[in-house]
Amino acid sequence: MMENLIWGYIYPNEAEIQWSILIVLYPYITGLVAGAFIASSLYHVFGKKEVKPVARFALLTALSFLLVAMMPLLAHLGHPERGIEIMFTPHLTSAMSGFGYIYSFYLIVVVLEIWLSFREDIVKLALNSKGWKELLYSALALFSYDISEKALHDDEKLAKKLAIIGIPSAAFLHGYVGFIFGGIKANPWWSTPLMPLIFLMSAIVSGIALLILLYIASMKLRKHAIDHKCLQSLAHYLWIFLILDVVLELLEIISMKYESLEEIEIINRLLSEKIAFTFYGVQLTMGIFIPFILLLLAGIMKNRQTLKMIMISVSSILVVIGVFAMRWNVVIGGQEISKSLSGTLTYVPVFFSREGVLPAIIILVIPFIILRVVTYILPPWKDMEEESE
């Protein structure tokens, strides 16, 4: 069995794949977080009024996914109980050592941003409810009920400043994940300075696509009309970032093939045999080119809102799948080539195991449950529903 999974010569210690599907999930989830946050800052920082309906919802989405971002890592560690040492005794030459700090900082930024943009609602809910709800919202309001015009104006100013800090930290959170791979000279498939940028662009793409899907789904569930201007605008940004994303991804492959260094033979083998389907098929064709064309058509078509909505949703679904394939191709693909450059091996995911497919599915479902709870406590629907009327 093992023999069939191995081609050529791999170093004896490479028989076991070290980073499993959970480590595929980690950059995928942080990417969704960074992307959703950047989508919300289109309104909060850049004042794009068209995306206002989803701006606060995007923040809640970012938070829901951020809360689980650490889970795949902890589940993967040999000693999860020692994981906290990354924060207590970080070894600063390691790209990974920044994780705890960047993550915590970003979590604080997102929570503060949410608090500021929901403060008026929280105070109103606190004043208008009874019993445990009153207590909950009063606590959330930090027992400060000032919602005078001046106070709200100050909130808004502070929120904008925070979001300005938030953009580089979102970019950093995810760009740095790219560097974790991009900085590994031992692995020719990972080692490229483009990696942080590729990760960042695909993160933004996946975050916007997820937001589009969640927006459409929640409006359908709440039986409310969709604000087509908002949707169109999100689709437009998705399209732009798709272009940046594909340019970088192709640039990486083209320069690798053009320069044809020592590792090119094994890279070609990886691309043509190991990940041909997930790379050319899912990541590039399904995840980028088809959505690119669909979004382009949706952008130039007049009227026919329903058809456009379907095209945008299909594109978003494809993008979300395509970006997952991209993470897979990086994390798993990089481990399917031997560092001896003379062989390949195959990752076979297990379903029931600590690092198997089942925990991965569970970890991927939790953010949606969190989002349901968070939107119950802090309903963002008002912005989404009043605009369209």
Binding site: G8, Y9, I10, Y11, P12, N13, E14, A15, E16, Q18, W19, L73, H76, L77, G78, H79, P80, R82, G83, E85, I86, T89, P90, H91, T93, S94, A95, M96, S97, F99, I180, G183, I184, K185, A186, N187, Q335, S338, K339, S340, L341, S342, G343
Partner: protein
């Protein structure tokens, strides 16, 4: 059960104090014993040495005794595909194809599965952690659990490693593995417990043909320095800038 609150608190306090004291005692015993075993205490002064290793590929016969001795000496599980050292076989066939293999890390030796008349050139290459001067594994460890000693050996602190396996990814030579029992990264120590007592690493001692040599780079008369002075040597993947301290004689271009 009928326990008063007072009794319960008393019992609880005892358990907590007992547990804390117990762990502290065990920990002090463990730290003491590992300190005397691993760290340079007593007569050994790690400032006086800087270790180096030479592999003479022209001498290796592929018997695999080194890989065997290593597993025995260092309790590396025999039933798992993990190796601190191994031997690779390179065979260039008459049609130009290069076949590389290292079945079970060479522990059971090699079988002649290709008729000799089809082979143009063949040789063995022993592999081991290079104990790099610029070790990428140390660079990428997020908690500093892997480190370079003053005498030039790259080690893992098993009580500190979080098991993220970033170092395994970072090693260009495939020299690291995941220890499924300790749940940490693991690797060759150049038999640090032996060399600090004046003994040779197990693999060097086991080699029947002297293909593996170990010695002190700080000692101008050591066997290592003699070879470095006289022979034309190379290291593995020199372009990666890792500055290995395992030097090879007779390294073929096919070897990576």
């Amino acid at each position: 059960m009928d326990i008063s609150r007072r009794e319960f608190t008393k019992f609880g306090c005892r358990v907590i104090i007992g547990a804390a004291a117990g762990t502290a005692i065990i920990e002090s015993i463990v730290t003491n014993s590992s300190a005397s075993e691993n760290s340079p205490a007593g007569e050994y002064d790690w400032n006086e040495h800087y270790w180096g290793y030479v592999v003479d590929t022209r001498k290796c016969i592929g018997c695999g005794r080194c890989a065997n001795a290593c597993k025995l000496e260092n309790d590396v599980p025999f039933d798992e595909p993990v190796y601190r050292t191994w031997v690779e076989r390179y065979r260039t066939l008459k049609d130009g194809e290069v076949k590389i293999d290292s079945p079970n890390g060479s522990i059971d030796g090699f079988i002649d599965d290709i008729p000799a008349e089809d082979i143009k050139k063949a040789f063995y290459v022993p592999k081991i952690c290079n104990h790099c001067d610029n070790p990428p594994c140390v660079q990428v460890c997020p908690v500093g659990a892997t480190y370079e000693t003053r005498d030039g050996v790259v080690l893992v602190d098993y009580d500190y490693c979080i098991g993220c396996r970033y170092c395994i990814q970072g090693c260009p030579y495939g020299a690291r593995y995941f220890n499924s029992e300790k749940k940490t990264a693991d690797k060759c120590t150049w038999c640090y417990h032996r060399i600090t007592k004046g003994l040779l690493p197990a693999c060097v001692q086991a080699c029947p043909v002297g293909a593996r040599k170990f010695g002190d780079l700080k000692d101008p008369d050591s066997i290592i320095n003699k070879i470095l002075d006289e022979e034309r040597i190379n290291v593995l993947k020199p372009d990666l800038g890792t500055k290995p301290k395992v030097y090879y004689i007779g390294l073929d271009r096919e070897v990576r």
